[in-house]
């Protein structure tokens, strides 16, 4: 990559975000027309932006973070009543991860007896869904390794052009950082929430395997907690979403990998006067309405 003026870098970033002033637009467009380095830089900025922003923004549309942290941490319940290990196992179970019979029974007993735990597990699930799923989808579309190499190449090329002994001007410093800083700044709320999620995990992990009043000898954890939350290898089918048209209802009967029971998704016409439309006399399916 040839030398790219720091001013142009900054203007390209504004251009990519649709925030460039009308007065500066001709200068950027001229650079993009004549300079391959400018086009390459615009492509990198756009790819990075689209890779993460779009799915995360979609996630933020779906999740309300108001009070979520309090729910997860269970402000209203004494900490001694909480068992982080069982809450992580509950999340794993909800995702179809097979548990041992002993662990399954412990999770069921725990959730049935601790209201705060049910809220916490639901809150952790929301946090996970808010970030993991959309970013997984982004990861499917983007070759992050290649993108990282391109960014590295671009930055190194600019370094080489300027010389490592050259003292940076404030403008150069700003331009160098805008690739990262503008992106982080634009998505500050997202990363703040990510930090919240990380804090929850960080607070909970040290409690795992710590003897408590309820569990004088803490039981063994089936697998490392971060693996359970974020990076487990899927062994059972998972239903991510079900959408149905007006006039239908839907429900999901959960599976049980240990018992060789597969999940059942129901999409069924609503009944009229107790009859299924088009399938009269058939018994109503079992399942949990969504």
């Amino acid at each position: 990559m040839s030398h790219l003026d720091p001013d142009i870098q900054l203007l390209i970033e504004l251009y990519a975000d649709g925030e460039i002033d009308a007065a500066d637009r001709p200068r950027v467009e001229a650079a993009l027309e004549s300079d391959p380095a400018a086009r390459e830089y615009l492509a990198v900025v756009e790819e990075l932006r689209d890779a993460v922003r779009l799915p995360v923004e979609a996630a933020l549309e779906r999740v309300s973070f108001d009070g979520l942290f309090d729910r997860v941490m269970g402000d209203a319940a004494p900490t001694r009543l909480r068992n982080p290990e069982l809450e992580l196992l509950a999340m794993a179970r909800a995702d179809g991860e097979p548990l041992s019979d002993t662990d399954r029974e412990r999770v069921q007993t725990y959730l049935a007896s601790t209201d705060a735990a049910k809220d916490a597990v639901a809150g952790l699930g929301e946090l996970r869904d808010a970030f993991v799923l959309p970013v997984e989808q982004a990861a499917e579309r983007v070759d992050f390794e290649a993108l990282g190499r391109r960014i590295e190449t671009a930055l190194d090329a600019i370094d080489a052009e300027r010389g490592s002994s050259t003292e940076l001007t404030p403008q150069q410093k700003r331009s160098m950082w805008t690739t990262v800083a503008a992106f982080v700044g634009e998505h500050r709320a997202v990363f703040a929430s990510a930090i919240t999620a990380a804090a929850v995990v960080a607070l909970m992990l040290p409690m795992i395997n710590r003897p408590t009043a309820d569990n004088p000898v803490a039981p063994e954890v089936a697998s490392p907690a971060p693996t359970v939350i974020n990076n487990y290898y899927l062994t059972s089918p998972v239903v991510d979403s079900v959408e149905f048209e007006p006039g239908y209802w839907s429900g999901v009967t959960p599976g049980d990998a240990d018992a060789d029971i597969a999940p059942v998704i129901w999409i069924v016409p609503e009944t009229k006067d107790g009859e299924d439309e088009g399938a009269s006399a058939e018994p109503a399916p079992t399942g949990t309405p969504l």
């Binding site: 990075l48 993460v52 970030f131 997984e136 990861a139 499917e140 992050f144 390794e145 290649a146 990282g148 960014i151 590295e152 930055l155 190194d156 370094d159 300027r162 010389g163 490592s164 003292e167 940076l168 160098m176 950082w177 690739t179 990262v180 982080v184 990363f191 990510a194 974020n230 990076n231 290898y233 899927l234 059972s236 089918p237 998972v238 239903v239 991510d240 979403s241 079900v242 959408e243 149905f244 048209e245 239908y248 839907s250 009967t253 060789d260 029971i261 597969a262 999940p263 059942v264 998704i265 129901w266 999409i267 069924v268 016409p269 299924d276 399938a279 058939e282 018994p283 109503a284 399916p285």
Partner: protein
Amino acid sequence: MMNRISQLALVALSALLLFAGASLATPRAASAQQVNVTVTVIVASNSGSGVDASLSAHARRLQQQFSQFDSFSQSTRRSLALAPGQSGSVSLPGARPATILLEGQRNGTILLQVQVPGGSTDIRLPPGGTIFLAGTPVTGGTAILMIQT
């Protein structure tokens, strides 16, 4: 100084990207592979005819999981070889066909979107996984799609 800034910038970028999860290191080429999805269309009813011989391998599971029906017959069985973004369809007797779209793969998990009359669902299946999608009224009863990878 510049190198340090570049390195810091890369560290910051890496942190952002790693936030996306360990899946980021998955080679893109892996998601371009075709996968086979087998869809068996079963018509369930209470006609008293029991379970089709063609479904004998699944009789116990069907009778256990769909105990509201007493009869199961196989209507169609299709094996679809799908690449990411490709879809295939399976006919349902007397109804619009079901459509199965391969959305992608990750860590060996297959992401599918299945559309049937009245709705659609996004599911993730591990290799060898089975899931049922049921409820569509069809000729002779209610359709049960057995989707296997």
